[in-house]
Subunit: 251 residues, 2 copies
C-alpha cells in the first residue's frame, strides 16, 4: 500500500482555530509525528501510533515521518501555527531533496494553519494592516552580520517587523542587540508588542515602546512585533493598527 | 441590546479551510457585511441580513458595519484570507479611530483566517521556510519612490517577497517596473511564482524565473512570490522550498 505524508498546522492553540481540513487529516491518519508538546494537543485521537520527539530534532523527525510513509503508513506531521512558517514543512522538504525521493514513491500534502502572527494580529486589532516582514531568530546558521543587515533593511523600508523564536539558548543577548540596531534606525516611540500563547489559557500580551523594550522578558515562544512608523494605538480602546496607506516615511 | 462586530477571515476559498471559530461567528450573527463575492461564499446561511458591496468601498463598508453594530446588531464582516492582511480589519480600525468610538459602545473581535500566502505556500511546498516579507501593491496612496525603496531593501536583505494585489487599475505597468528593479538587485534565476485562487476550482499555479517573468499575465487576484537567493525546486518532485538556514548571501 502506498503511504502518505501530510504536514499540518494546528494553529496557535485553541481547538476552534484548527481548520476542518487538518481535523480530517488527523482522523484519517495511522501515525502522528511531532514535537511532544504538539502531540499532546491531538492525544485524544484513538487508534493512532504517536511518535513524539524533542523540539530541536527537526531533521530526525522529518526522516522518521518520511520512512513511515514509505512503509505505507498514513502519516501526519503536526506543527504549531502554520507548518510552512519556521516549522516542519521546510525540514521535510530538505530531507526529500537530499535523499532524492521521487513523487512516485511518496505523496506529500501540506495543510496550512493560523500562524502565530495572524493570531496575534487578530487579538491586537490590525497591526499588519500594511507591508510587513517576518524574521526567525532561532536560526543558528544565520550569521549576526546577515541578521543585522536584514533588520536594518526592514527598518529602513518601514516594514512592520515580526520576530519568531526571539530567544535562543546559544544567543541570549541577540534580541537586545537587535533592539540597539533598531534604535539607531527608527524613532524611539515605535510600538513593540510581546504576544504569548495567543488563544490559550496562558495568553498574555504586553505592549511597550522601542526605547523601553526589555528583551529579557521574552521567552522562546514569544512573538515580538515592532510597529512601522505608522502603527498606532487607538485612544480609549486599546486596539493597535497600521493604516492601509503608507505616505511619507517618518523614521 | 449591545451589538457586536466580528471581523472574520474566510480563508482562500475551500470550505474546509474556514476555522470553526469563523463558522460559529457566522451562525451567531444577525447581519453579514462584505464585498459581494465574499458574501456569495456564505449565502447559504439562513435568517441573516446580507449587506454586499463593491470591492473598493472599504471605508463605506466599515462605517456600515460599525453603524449596524451600534444599533444592536450582531454584525460579521467577511474578508477573504485573513482580515488583518490587506483586508477589512485595518479599514474598520481606521474608522473606529477617526470617529472616537469607545470600547464601551462597541465590542470588536477579529478572527484570523488562512491568508493567500499561507495557502500558496502549502500548495507549493515550503517557499516561506525562511525570512520573508509581504507587500501590498494595490495601495494608491503609496508613492512609487517608497515602493521602489522597499522592494530594493527587501531584495538586498534576501527576503522571500510576496506581493498581494499585484495589478492595479491605476498603475498597469507597476509590476513590470518592480521586476526591472528586482533584476538590478537579484540574480536572474530567482524563482517567481504566480498563485491564483488556491483551494478553489479555478486554482492555477505558474512558475518562472525573474529573467522570464511576464507581469502581463497576472491579475488583481494573483499572489506573486519571488524566491530568496536560496529558494529552490526539488528535482523530480516539483516542490519548491526555502531551506531554514540562510548562510551567505549569493545575490
Amino acid at each position: 500500500m502506498k503511504g502518505s505524508l501530510t504536514i499540518v498546522g494546528l494553529g496557535p492553540g485553541a481547538p476552534e482555530l484548527i481548520t476542518p481540513a487538518v481535523t480530517d487529516a488527523l482522523k484519517d491518519s495511522t501515525d502522528i509525528v511531532g514535537y511532544s508538546k504538539y502531540i499532546e494537543r491531538v492525544k485524544d485521537a484513538s487508534g493512532k501510533s504517536f511518535h513524539p520527539s524533542d523540539n530541536r530534532e527537526e531533521i530526525d523527525r522529518a526522516e522518521l515521518s518520511i520512512n513511515l510513509a514509505l512503509q505505507g503508513k498514513k502519516v501526519v506531521v503536526v506543527s504549531s501555527g502554520d507548518p510552512g512558517v519556521f516549522a516542519m514543512a521546510s525540514a521535510i522538504f530538505e530531507v526529500v531533496d537530499k535523499k532524492n525521493i521521487s513523487i512516485d514513491d511518496l505523496s506529500i500534502v501540506v495543510l496550512p494553519g493560523i500562524t502565530a502572527l495572524l493570531a496575534a494580529s487578530a487579538r491586537l486589532g490590525a497591526p499588519i494592516g500594511h507591508d510587513f516582514c517576518v524574521i526567525n531568530l532561532s536560526d543558528n546558521l544565520k550569521s549576526w552580520d546577515i541578521l543585522k543587515s536584514r533588520v536594518i533593511a526592514a527598518a529602513k523600508a518601514d516594514f512592520v517587523i515580526a520576530f519568531y523564536n526571539p530567544r535562543s539558548k546559544s544567543r541570549k543577548n541577540q534580541l537586545s542587540e537587535i533592539y540597539n540596531v533598531l534604535r539607531k534606525n527608527c524613532k524611539s516611540d515605535r510600538i513593540v508588542i510581546y504576544a504569548n500563547s495567543i488563544s490559550t489559557e496562558s495568553e498574555a500580551v504586553f505592549e511597550t515602546t522601542l526605547s523601553e523594550a526589555d528583551a529579557s522578558s521574552v521567552s522562546m515562544k514569544t512573538l515580538v512585533i515592532i510597529g512601522s512608523s505608522r502603527t498606532k494605538k487607538i485612544r480609549n480602546t486599546g486596539y493597535i493598527y497600521t493604516p492601509r496607506y503608507s505616505g511619507v516615511e517618518k523614521n
